[in-house]
Symmetry: C2
Subunit: 344 residues, 2 copies
Amino acid sequence: MVMEVFRNDRMENRKITISDIAEALQVSKTTVSRAISGKGRISEETRKKILAYIEEKDYKPNVIAKGLAQQKTYNIALVIPGDCNLVDMPFFQNSMQGICEEASQHDYDVMLVTTSGKDYSNLERMIFNHKVDGVILSRSLVKDEVAVFLKEQQIPFILMGTSKDEDILQVDNNHKEGCCELVTKLLARGYRKIGLVGGSQNFVVNRMRFEGYKNAFHNAKYTMEEAFVYSNCETMEQTEQAVKKLLRHEVQCIVCMDDMICALVMQVLAKEQIKVPEQMKVASFYDSTLLMNHEPAITSLLFDDKALGALTCRILLDYMQGEEVKGKNLMGYEIVLRESTDDI
Amino acid sequence: MVMEVFRNDRMENRKITISDIAEALQVSKTTVSRAISGKGRISEETRKKILAYIEEKDYKPNVIAKGLAQQKTYNIALVIPGDCNLVDMPFFQNSMQGICEEASQHDYDVMLVTTSGKDYSNLERMIFNHKVDGVILSRSLVKDEVAVFLKEQQIPFILMGTSKDEDILQVDNNHKEGCCELVTKLLARGYRKIGLVGGSQNFVVNRMRFEGYKNAFHNAKYTMEEAFVYSNCETMEQTEQAVKKLLRHEVQCIVCMDDMICALVMQVLAKEQIKVPEQMKVASFYDSTLLMNHEPAITSLLFDDKALGALTCRILLDYMQGEEVKGKNLMGYEIVLRESTDDI
DNA sequence: CTGAAAGCGCTTACAG
DNA sequence: CTGAAAGCGCTTACAG
């Protein structure tokens, strides 16, 4: 048996350059450059001639060289935590696409950086190597150290998420308001005993969600029952405990901070033989593919993560250009009522 | 209320260059360059002097400029389908990390490209713009068009996945063998009626898994029952139909092609009041976080996706250097027996 | 409106 | 062992 082996014999597929064009057309490189960039005076005639030639030869400028001359890289870094969990993944996937597409449209490219734990050495390397003009930090990466480092380096950066640090440019889904409105709707339906099951308050996003929950009660002038709130459910056991306690409290509805938790809650309810929505209403604060095929369908909040990514990218780019941008930006949401909260 | 506004006043935080070093040390740029790269003759003394100065001033070479001079970019592209589904996400996340870390170690960086559907224009742009030296295609992106394009462009690329095209450099988890071994183990326990529930055969990875299943029967000299194989389950309904039919056939065990499907299968079984493992054994061909918290724990195949990413990256890099590399590379796996296949 | 020249920050024959 | 010079592919004052 022959072992198939590959070797790369790079046959100098030489690319055409600005000099080639200049020579072919008997003009200077300067002129060619001007025709391409549109900057500086140039006669309509020569401009057309050059552009036509470029079109014909399918010439593409070398962005790297352009960048070097302009002291830019036309790259931004996207920092993603290597240790994020499953719930976050649809979020990352969708926002990533938004970021890439937006960047592309502005002739920028996205460099991927993963961090592991507190170690952001790969980001350091990338910045020290002068490979990016700006950085997008993604949520749950609100570790101050990275932000501090970035400030020190004086490199423009933005957080796709929420931070208390007002110095940090940020854009996020409006979790607080969304959660508030969802709970308000549930209260309006007459449910007063609404349990909340969520993950660690160490994540800013969870804190926002909790705030929304609280505000709903506050706005409606109902008192929120502390005993109905469980915000440390990461494992199956913890969730099971929380749900059982809520059942003892005879809550009418359980609101889950995200889809992962919601899936766990649904498992517990199934085990306990509690029917949704007949005996218990359930809603989630985040709508992802995770619950897509669930039966019954789950009422939840829908965010447009792709648009979030695109906006984040655009704001960073604007900022890098020296434009004025708002420090704190929030994106809308949609409340999707489904079977799990139906009145029977 | 004041609207917080940001503006980027880039205060020329000028970086130190090779010329600065040369001037400070009264040597030529050439010499500095040699001290850094280690190429070319240079006296131990001057080398040390330069390196010490570099250390002291914390100088980092501009990789972009270096690349321009060497006709390289020190970047590789990672192509990720914008429309991949949930099952694939742990895979992407983990392999991404492996790729980034490996690249980093070789002073390369990873540019992120998303495709949407058949549209790979962002990849085109990146390549035309001369921004990468090589490309990693990720599985489910086996669309021939992209590979054809890449071949045309004569740019080195590798597929993290499996393709029938023998011209394509590829590395993948050994799904076929893993699945075969898992099923063989089940057969050895005496289960003869083993159902298979899986996704579309349009995905190469699913085809590999099916092959493994077939081989297990073949090796054991049992005949495989066509009626026990359902390979078009994407939705809840399809899965439900498949499971019900398998129940009618009185299979003893259900093997699922991936975790998403397995989760659906478990839901159906729960609904039908079938207890696992008492009344039915269940196993999955892919072990991801999706099933992490499931009760009972599910027997499955464990792959090291991070290592897969790292290997893929390394092979591509080797290939780009002109080294000989194997055309087809397979990674090992581990079979994790859990409660869901326990004998009672 | 156009071009020669210097420059971005590095590398690399070539000569000494 | 070391350096002057040309070059990577572009941009951009400056001069005309």
